[in-house]
C-alpha cells in the first residue's frame, strides 16, 4: 500500500498532499462508520422500505382502479362508484373473543355470515345490473383490493413509525419481512385481475377435479352455495361436492358434507378431500400427494364442522393435495396445475379401490374457490 501510494501520488499536481488527504479520508471514513454506521444502515433500510412502499402504493392504486372499472363495466351503476368503493376498502371485521374458547366456531361463523351478507348487499348496490355470478366475482375482486389496501397501510404505518422513532428494532422488523409481504401483495394483485375477469385461479383445482368427476351427472344444491352430484366410480357411489360455480365463492363444504352424511344416516365408507396446498420451495408445481385429515383452509369453521361430523360417525377421511405456491394459488391457473387434475383423479380412484368395497358410498369434496369453473 505504501509503495502504491508513493507511486500514485507522484502524479501531476499531487505531491505529498494527496497521500495526506487520502490518509485523512481513511480516518474520517473509519470514524464515521464507527459512530454513525448504524444510523447509515438504518437510513439505507428506510430507503429500501420506501422503495417497496412506492410499489405497494402503485399495486394498491392499480387494484382500486381495476375494481372500479370492472364495477362500471359489468354493474352499470347510475352514479360514480368511486366513493363507495373507497368506503368499502376500509371495512373491517372484528374477531370474536377467544378468552373462553368454547363455542367460538359458531360465533366466528356467524360473524363471517354477517360479513358475507353485508358485502353482497353492498356489491348489489354498487353494481345493480350484475347477475349472481358477476356479484360473486366483484365481491372477490373488492376483497382482494381490500387486502392490498390493508397491506399498504400496515407497511406505511411501520415505515412512518420507524422514521419517527428511528428505532432500529421497528425498522429491522419490517425490512426483514418485506420480501414475503411483497410476494403476498403481488399474489393479491394477480388474484384481483383474475377475479375481475372471472378466470379460474390455482386454488380452484379442488373444484376443478370435482367438476370433472361430476360433469354430465344431475346436480342438486346442498347447503349454502354448494352442489352435489351422485357419480358412479369403480362400482361405488360417490357424492361429489363442490362450491357452486362459475361465480367466485368457496361455499360451505362443512355444511354440505354434514348434510350428505346425515342424508345417508352416517353410512359413508370414506371421505376424500381434494385441495390445493402450499408447496415448499423446491417442490414441483402441480405435484399430487396423498394423506389423511381434513384438507381445507380458511378460517377453520368448515374444517371444524367436518371433523365433528366424521368423529360422530367414525368415518375415515383421506386427503389428496395439489402443490402450488402462494402466487400460483391466487393467479390464473397455470397449465401444470390444470393438467394435474387428471393425475389427482387417478389418485382418487386408487384410494377408492384400496380403501373401500364395491357398493360403498363415499364422499368426494373439491375444496377451493370455484371462480371460472362450472359443473
Amino acid at each position: 500500500m505504501m509503495m502504491l501510494q508513493g507511486l500514485l501520488f507522484e502524479l501531476p499536481g499531487g505531491g505529498d498532499v494527496f497521500s495526506q488527504i487520502l490518509t485523512i479520508l481513511i480516518y474520517a471514513f473509519l470514524f464515521i462508520s464507527l459512530f454513525y454506521g448504524q444510523k447509515i444502515q438504518m437510513h439505507l433500510m428506510l430507503k429500501e422500505i420506501e422503495g417497496s412502499l412506492y410499489r405497494l402504493k402503485y399495486i394498491r392504486d392499480e387494484g382500486r382502479r381495476i375494481a372500479i372499472e370492472t364495477i362500471k363495466e359489468v354493474g352499470k351503476p347510475q352514479k360514480d362508484p368511486t366513493t363507495m368503493v373507497d368506503r368499502f376498502l376500509e371495512y373491517f371485521t372484528i374477531q370474536p373473543e377467544d378468552m373462553d374458547p368454547a363455542g367460538i366456531v359458531w360465533k366466528l361463523e356467524h360473524i363471517l355470515d354477517v360479513r358475507d351478507a353485508r358485502f353482497k348487499d353492498e356489491v348489489k348496490l354498487l353494481a345493480p345490473e350484475a347477475d349472481d355470478v358477476q356479484i360473486n366475482n366483484l365481491e372477490n375482486t373488492l376483497e382482494a383490493a381490500m387486502a392490498l389496501n390493508y397491506i399498504y397501510k400496515v407497511i406505511r404505518h411501520y415505515y412512518l413509525l420507524g422514521k419517527k422513532t428511528l428505532s432500529l428494532y421497528i425498522i429491522m422488523q419490517i425490512q426483514m419481512i418485506l420480501p414475503l409481504v411483497m410476494r403476498e401483495a403481488e399474489a393479491y394483485a394477480s388474484a384481483l385481475k383474475a377475479f375481475a375477469y372471472g378466470q379460474p385461479i390455482g386454488d380452484g383445482i379442488g373444484p376443478l377435479v370435482a367438476a370433472k368427476l361430476m360433469h354430465g351427472y344431475p346436480v342438486r344444491k346442498v347447503a349454502k352455495d354448494c352442489v352435489v352430484a351422485e357419480v358412479p366410480i369403480e362400482g361405488r357411489i360417490a357424492y361429489v361436492i363442490k362450491a357452486e360455480g362459475p361465480g367466485g365463492n368457496v361455499g360451505k363444504p362443512g355444511d354440505a358434507v354434514k348434510a350428505v352424511i346425515e342424508e345417508n344416516e352416517g353410512k359413508i365408507a370414506s371421505i376424500i378431500m381434494i385441495d390445493a396446498a402450499l408447496k415448499l420451495e423446491g417442490e414441483e408445481v402441480g405435484e399430487v400427494s396423498e394423506g389423511v385429515g381434513a384438507a381445507i383452509g380458511g378460517p377453520g369453521v368448515d374444517k371444524f364442522k367436518i371433523e365433528e361430523t366424521i368423529l360422530k360417525y367414525r368415518i375415515p377421511i383421506n386427503a389428496v393435495i395439489i402443490k402450488e405456491d402462494i402466487g400460483d394459488a391466487v393467479s390464473p391457473m397455470r397449465k401444470e396445475i390444470f393438467d394435474s387434475a387428471d393425475k389427482a383423479i387417478e389418485r382418487i380412484k386408487q384410494v377408492i379401490l384400496e380403501k373401500t368395497k364395491e357398493g360403498d358410498k363415499i364422499i368426494i369434496v373439491g375444496v377451493g374457490n370455484t371462480i371460472g369453473i362450472g359443473q
Partner: protein, 137 residues
C-alpha cells in the same frame, strides 16, 4: 408518503446526481490515466487510474440498469390466459384467448362440423419461466 408524493416511475434526483458525479470522476480518472501514460510514462499509475475509471463507469452503469429493471418490474404483468373449446361428439378442438364470461364446462357456440354444442374444457395460463434456474437439488 405524505409530503413528497413521488410516482414510482421516477428515479430519485439524488441517485441521478450520484451517478453523474461518479461518471464524471471516472472519466477524469481515465483522462488522467492517458496523461500519466503518455506524458509522464508512469505505467503503474496509468493502470491504477484506468482501473478506477472502469470500475466507476461499470458501477454507474450497473446502478442505471438496476433502476431500469426496477421500473420495468413495476408493471403488473398479465400473462395470456387461454380457453380451449372442445366438441364432445367429433373431438373438434379450438383454442382462443380468454373472454370475459368464459368458464370451464360452459356450453358455447355449436361445432362447425356437426352442429353439436361445444363446451369449454380448459382455461389456463401458459407460464413462462423467466430464467432457467439451475439447481442441483
Amino acid at each position: 408518503m405524505s409530503r413528497k408524493e413521488q410516482t414510482p416511475a421516477q428515479i430519485s434526483t439524488f441517485t441521478m446526481m450520484m451517478i453523474f458525479i461518479v461518471l464524471a470522476i471516472s472519466f477524469a480518472a481515465i483522462i488522467l490515466a492517458i496523461q500519466a501514460y503518455s506524458v509522464y510514462e508512469n505505467q503503474f499509475a496509468a493502470a491504477y487510474l484506468t482501473f478506477i475509471g472502469i470500475l466507476g463507469i461499470a458501477l454507474s452503469l450497473y446502478t442505471i440498469m438496476q433502476v431500469r429493471r426496477r421500473l420495468a418490474r413495476l408493471k403488473i404483468e398479465t400473462p395470456p390466459v387461454i380457453t380451449t373449446i372442445e366438441c364432445k361428439k367429433c373431438g373438434f378442438k379450438s383454442v382462443r384467448e380468454f373472454q370475459r364470461g368464459d368458464y370451464v364446462f360452459k356450453e358455447v357456440e355449436p361445432c362447425r362440423k356437426c352442429n353439436e354444442n361445444m363446451i369449454i374444457t380448459a382455461i389456463y395460463r401458459e407460464f413462462k419461466e423467466k430464467r432457467k434456474e439451475t439447481t442441483f437439488f
